[in-house]
Amino acid sequence: MADHQLFIDGEYRDAASGETFATHDPATGEKIADVAKAGKADAVAAITAARKAFDEGPWSRTSGKERAEKLNKIAELLGAKAEKFAEMEARDGGGTIKKATFADVPGAQGAFQWFARMAEEQPEIVDLPGTAFPPSENYVKYEPHGVCTGVIPWNFPLIMAAWKIAPAIAAGNTSVIKPASFTSVTALMLGEIMQEADLPPGVVNIISGPGGTVGEELAANPMVDKTAFTGSTEVGRRIMQLASGTVKPVTLELGGKSANIVLDDADLDIAAAAVLWGTFFHGGQVCESGTRALVHRAIYDEFVSLLADRTGKIVIGNQLDFNTDIGPLVSRSQVETVERYVALGREEVGEPLVGGSRPDDLAEGLDAAAFYRPTIFVDVDNKSKIAQEEIFGPVLSVIPFETDDEAVAIANDSIYGLAGGVQSADLDRAKDIAGRMRTGTVWINDYHLISPERPFGGYKQSGIGRELSTQGYNAYRQIKHVHINPGGSRDNYMHFSALSSNI
């Protein structure tokens, strides 16, 4: 029996094949648990359970208030188990316990609470005053899509699960999600919360397993009405192709290569911290990371010096210690990917200003093959590979600019458009630049601050649609226009005049 089983139709169960896969603490290579490995049969079982729960109710027919009560209960139960979830999140994915405690668990709670509020406050029926066809009356009715699936990445497994499950069930849909194989455990643990919240069976289903089979099924299966994905742009394209078979709507949150622009009037002390936080939070394994720092030439040398000095103070090590800033990357192959790009950077740009290697001063028992030092390349050409490709590791490219127009042009010279930052004392100037950046989010004098109340998503090849906010809620609702002819005389019926009066 797997230590962590699939959650289907309200119950935990092994995969139909009985297969499992091991998940490890990336810091040490130590095995954490055996996780059930779903196959196509399990994916179909989960989708079927969700379909039945939606079609036969009661969930899809409950009021917004009733659904809100359940979502708030889920948030409350998650809060009661916050330490357990935070520790497992940190162990399984390598993110720090600090991140798990102040971002992952409260962030997931916040998503359930926000979408509870949406369920309670957003009207399901909106009258449409006036009519082109008197005496008709018209209204819009918002309805759930049906079965909504989600495939989530390994960098924020608990939050990403909440971002997919919470809006779906708040709007009256049922949900099937697949967490990433590197980090399945906390998403699977959410099943316990669903049971304790007494959610009807089949409303939420969580299955771990390979994307090649399970992920494909969640996107392609005709019983599914909508699908959402967070992860790589290439997989997003694949999801769209698979979903197109039955014309499913998709929400995609994909890659990024975000620019953090430091203007010449910025407070350099604060801006340097913003750039380091924007880049190295979670070891750079964050889709909106500001991995291109665009720095005005007038302050360039001083700013680069500040970055180098501060980077040396970032604490790398055991992710379960609250004093650690960066833990291991999610896997050894992720470190190898970072190393490949640092080698490319050395060829294209030269020796990095700082970093450029695995750490050699880790505590005994930690495996250096899973860690990488924060690395900064300076004087980077924006056309270079390290400035254009998403590395998904702790690598910053610093790029000089002379004018605001040039900064905007460099920032927008990317296939992506997920996020960005502007660091400046002049808010009007910063807002002008923010308005010209083709990205879904811009932080002025901040970075990485995402909350459930605000929309999140990308321009260009960074995705389709928005998660969170009212927009993210409405993505999980169909729109139905209802036209009512109250009757009366034959003159009230246009069909008598539109067709022959003989009908």
């Binding site: 896969f21 998940t23 603490d25 040490t28 290579g29 130590e30 330490e83 520790e87 940190a90 316990i97 600090k98 405690t101 102040f102 971002a103 992952d104 409260p106 962030g107 939050i159 390979p210 994307g211 090649g212 089979t213 992920g215 992860g231 790589s232 742009t233 290439e234 997989v235 394209r237 694949r238 999801i239 994909l254 890659g255 990024g256 394994q285 889709c287 210690d321 609250f322 896997s331 050894r332 192959s333 190898e336 990917t337 490949r340 005994e364 028992g365 930690l366 495996d367 093959a369 590979k385 254009q388 490709e389 998403e390 998904f392 590791g393 992506y416 990485h448 909350s451 459930p452 960074s462």
Partner: protein, 140 residues
């Protein structure tokens, strides 16, 4: 862009050819947690910006325009495979492995040990506490 593949990557593609009835394609894509990586798909539709850059075990490899520009002419990338846990919708994830890209100088014979034995046991309990200024924040 010039594509080569290690023997073990070719073997994985061969295995996929036997497990899927449709036409297989490898597309080199980018972004987010996968970084730039090869993706092995069945009945995939290459986009208008994608062009053929090589083949592995008879399976055509495509790459988009912006990557072909960054790896011009004969710049080589190597398709290899890793046996760690695998993400993405790439077919080989069914086999518990993942195709990856390596640099031109990659030597599969010199690959580092993938599953190192941990050293002395570390105290793996949570230590310390959240700084009070962060306890007031609900981020994300």
């Amino acid at each position: 862009m010039r594509i080569t593949a290690t023997e073990r990557a070719s073997a994985v593609v061969e295995r996929a050819k036997h497990s899927r009835a449709g036409r297989l394609t490898i597309t080199i894509g980018t972004g987010c947690c996968e970084s730039t990586a090869p993706f092995l798909y069945e009945d995939f539709w290459p986009g208008p910006d994608q062009a053929e850059v090589g083949s592995v075990s008879g399976v055509t490899v495509f790459a988009p325009d912006h990557l072909r520009r960054m790896y011009p002419d004969a710049q080589r990338v190597v398709i290899d495979v890793t046996d760690e846990l695998a993400e993405s919708l790439s077919i080989e994830t069914e086999f518990g492995c993942r195709l990856v890209l390596r640099g031109a100088d990659f030597d599969s014979a010199a690959e580092p040990q993938r599953c190192p034995a941990p050293g002395a046991p570390l105290d793996r309990r949570v230590t310390g506490e959240l700084p009070p200024e962060l306890s007031r924040i609900r981020m994300r």
